[in-house]
């Protein structure tokens, strides 16, 4: 066939036409196939993109939560009390282990575990990874990692550790498996300590390895802040030791010991006995011990409240230290006889002697003179019935009745004046009396003095709550409390060279039907040095055999006061006679050499005025 066209002549043979036709058919077939492929691609890539993207993401993309490092809790000298440390946990994924026996044999010597024990933890049928051993040291992790055992993997896991052991357990609290606080400061400062979690979104290959060139989104975690406490680890340790000794020697059931700086409200030590061990997993049967009992548990304070009663009387100008009252041993109030603790009458006694003798009759006289309105005004001013706001969870407010409450009588006014028929927490009590040691200004108790996140430091400033009494009243009260400390009956508890202002207290334990007279709260509160207080301390012994504060709490108070003077480097106000040095033992044992260690101790003496450096024994 020949085709003739206008213009240039093109000759196409019959074979060429057949060939062109086949090409067309082939082209159409390819196009058809391509169309089908493209149609399917369009369906997968465009129409059902989201579904397939989701399916692919499920397989490939890993959204990993990166846990922040929990902040540490440090003592006032920034020494760690609680820190978080990463350790590896060793897991076995049974189906992935190719040779269970060989794997167990390889791991056992490294883990120092019997081979059968390791083998028992590798179950090839179990699709849930089983923990072989937790908390591996880094060197051991590296050794295991170098073995490249299939099905065996290491998982970094944060652990909370306590370098000082179970120190201040009730104050620190503990965390749960989710690394959130469950008690103590760990709970109340959980937001600051925990930090913010980060995220890593990455694609993984079939072996679980991250695909380096694939999509990757990383939001870094924000580590938690470190809490710097006002607690001094040395004082805390000594306080716990002395309290435990006091409880044991008095055959008591427990006790509290709190030390505070009255000028700032900083709590230097807060010991409770019995307590729990924070380094061990929490036990449900110890739930009552796991709370900060210095703020959660209330008690009847007893005679230490006479300080508040007397402060009110002095402040209102109704009594002076030399005002006298006739004390016949008991007084009748609304038909109820109010007696002294020893049922003894002291005759005509001054207000100073009321405190020295701890006379209930005298305290009732002051409260009656004040009248309920003014009397309870001072209870309110001294912070009774209100939480201190120290920042520990579960703080109780304590309670007392006022004329506005149903059932209140003048008997309440009388008994409240010597600390019965009311309840306070130990921290409330020491905070109240600290106002007298701080020129009449009550400071808010504080446990945290700063938060540190890297170089960023957020200090927590001391906060004055209010002026409770005038400076004059505070000075008068201090003077009267010194008289209490210096009374002849307490001669054996004096500390040479130092003056302490203090008051003891004994309260019977309230029960459902009255008071249990042979079970008391024996306490002592005091501050020193009396003319320039650096510390205030409350010691409470629960149900001591000796019953009274002067017998049970005072020895602990004295022992701790001596430690405080030495540790805080407070020189004596009066010259102290130096004892004759003990002769050195022939064996060359320790003696005066112990005192000589002070050469290595840090000196904190200011240059501006003459200072004293104690040559004490082993101090930190």
């Amino acid at each position: 066939m020949r085709v003739v066209e206008q213009g240039p002549v093109r000759v196409i043979s019959g074979e060429a036409i057949a060939s062109t036709w086949r090409l067309w058919v082939l082209g159409i077939a390819i196009m058809a196939c391509a169309s089908v492929v493209f149609a399917r691609l369009y369906t997968y890539q465009v129409l059902e993109h989201d579904r397939f993207q989701s399916l692919a993401d499920d397989e490939q993309v890993e959204d990993q939560i990166i846990h922040p490092k929990r902040g540490a809790i440090l003592d006032t000298g920034r020494r760690p009390l609680a820190i978080s440390v990463m350790y590896d946990n060793l897991y076995a994924y049974g189906p992935g282990v190719k040779d269970p026996d060989g794997t167990a044999a390889a791991l056992a010597p490294l883990l120092e575990m019997p081979v059968p024990e390791v083998r028992a933890k590798i179950d090839p049928q179990n699709r849930i990874a089983s923990l072989i051993r937790g908390r591996l040291p880094a060197s051991l992790s590296a050794s295991i990692s170098a073995l490249h055992l299939p099905g065996i993997y290491l998982q970094p896991t944060p652990y909370r550790d306590y370098p000082e052991g179970s120190l201040a357990a009730q104050i620190l609290g503990f965390i749960g498996v989710d690394a959130h606080g469950l008690a103590g400061l760990e709970l109340s400062f959980d937001d600051e300590l925990h930090g913010d979690a980060g995220r890593l979104i990455s694609a993984r290959d079939t072996t679980g390895q991250e695909i380096a060139v694939a999509r990757r989104e990383f939001v870094p975690p924000r580590d938690g802040a470190d809490l710097v406490l006002t607690i001094d680890r040395y004082l805390q340790r000594v306080a716990e030791r002395e309290l435990e000794r006091g409880v044991r020697e008095n055959k008591a059931v427990g006790g509290k010991l709190i030390i505070m700086d009255p000028t700032t409200g900083a709590i230097l030590a807060a010991a409770s006995y019995p307590t729990y061990n924070v380094t061990e997993p929490p036990r449900p049967d110890q739930a009552a011990l796991q709370k900060p009992t210095i703020v959660t548990d209330v008690y009847e304070p007893g005679s230490v409240v006479k300080l508040v009663t007397m402060s009110g009387g002095l402040e209102e100008g109704l009594v002076t230290p030399d005002t006298t009252v006739q004390d016949n041993g008991s007084v009748l109030v609304d038909g109820v006889r109010i007696s002294n603790w020893d049922h003894a009458g002291h005759g005509l006694e001054t207000m100073r002697e009321v405190l020295i003798n701890s006379a209930n009759v005298g305290a009732a006289f002051v409260s009656r003179t004040l009248g309920p309105d003014r009397f309870y005004k001072y209870f309110d001013l001294f912070g009774f019935g209100q939480p201190t706001g120290v920042g520990l969870p579960g703080e109780a407010a304590g309670s007392y009745r006022t004329p506005a409450d149903p059932g209140w009588t003048n008997v309440d006014l009388a008994t409240n004046s010597f600390g019965q028929g009311m309840s306070v927490t130990p921290l409330q009590m020491i905070t109240a009396i600290s106002a007298l040691a701080n020129d009449g200004v009550m400071m808010k108790p504080m446990l945290v003095k700063e938060l540190r996140r890297g170089d960023e430091v957020t200090p927590v400033e001391p906060e004055a709550v209010r002026r409770v009494v005038s400076s004059r009243t505070a000075a008068q009260m201090t003077d009267m409390m010194i008289s209490v400390w210096k009374q002849p009956a307490a001669m054996q508890y004096r500390i040479p060279g130092y003056t302490i202002a203090s008051k003891t207290g004994t309260a019977d334990t309230p029960t459902a039907g009255g008071y249990q007279l042979n079970r008391t709260y024996a306490s002592q509160i005091g501050f020193g040095p009396a003319n320039n207080p650096r510390w205030i301390m409350l010691v409470r012994i629960d149900a001591p055999e000796a019953l009274y504060g002067g017998a049970a709490a005072t020895p602990v108070f004295k022992a701790m006061a001596e430690e405080l003077f030495t540790h805080l480097r407070i020189p004596p106000e009066e010259p102290v006679p130096t004892p004759t040095p003990a002769p050195r033992s022939p064996s060359g044992g320790p003696g005066p050499a112990v005192g000589g260690q002070t050469a290595g101790a840090p000196a904190q003496a200011p240059v501006a005025r003459p200072t004293a450096v104690p040559l004490n024994g082993a101090r930190q």
Binding site: M86, P137, T598, G600, P610, A612
Partner: protein, 174 residues
């Protein structure tokens, strides 16, 4: 029946016929020297070469990027490992510096005991130790019985130094 090569040749000839169509004189004068067909054929290998080079560069870059990515992952992993090791050492250090440890060391190993009496030294202003020097500075500041730079002292110090080089002190530790 022609073979494929012949048919191909025919088709090529046909194209050749088309290529040999007379061009406008303006174009012909602009393209001096090399025929259009040859220039077209020259571009094909160049294009393939360029494409190949681009592909090679891309694959090299991709490879480099992938390698860097895996290196980065490995370094991150190493960094985490060292951080972990560092944290654990910090903990060990804190435990060694804890009061419980110090007490055990002081009492059981060194035989120390609690001081029965505390002596306070009154330090007059101006001679107090700087806070970072510790009380040892005060001790050093105490009047010495020997002159500060006596010839005898220098000779003695030299002799002691030489002696220490030759015979290490008994309590020296590696």
């Amino acid at each position: 029946m022609r073979h494929w090569s012949q048919r191909h040749a025919l088709a090529v000839d046909d194209w050749d016929v088309e290529d040999e169509e007379p061009e406008p004189e303006a174009e012909a004068s602009a393209r001096v020297g090399r025929p259009l067909r040859e220039r077209r054929r020259a571009w094909v290998p160049l294009g393939i070469l360029g494409f190949g080079l681009a592909l090679l560069l891309y694959s090299m870059q991709l490879g480099s990027f992938t390698t860097s990515g895996y290196d980065l992952q490995r370094l991150h992993s190493e960094r985490d490992e060292w951080r972990q090791r560092n944290e654990q050492l910090d903990l060990e250090l804190a435990k060694v510096q804890s009061l419980a440890w110090i007490e055990v060391e002081a009492v059981q190993r060194l035989g120390m005991q609690k001081a029965s009496h505390v002596t306070y030294l009154e330090v007059p202003p101006g001679t107090a130790a700087a806070p970072d020097q510790g009380a040892s500075a005060t001790v050093t500041a105490a009047p010495s019985t020997e002159p500060a730079h006596s010839a005898f002292g220098d000779v003695l110090a030299l002799w002691r130094g030489l002696l220490a080089q030759l015979v290490p002190p008994i309590d020296a530790r590696p």
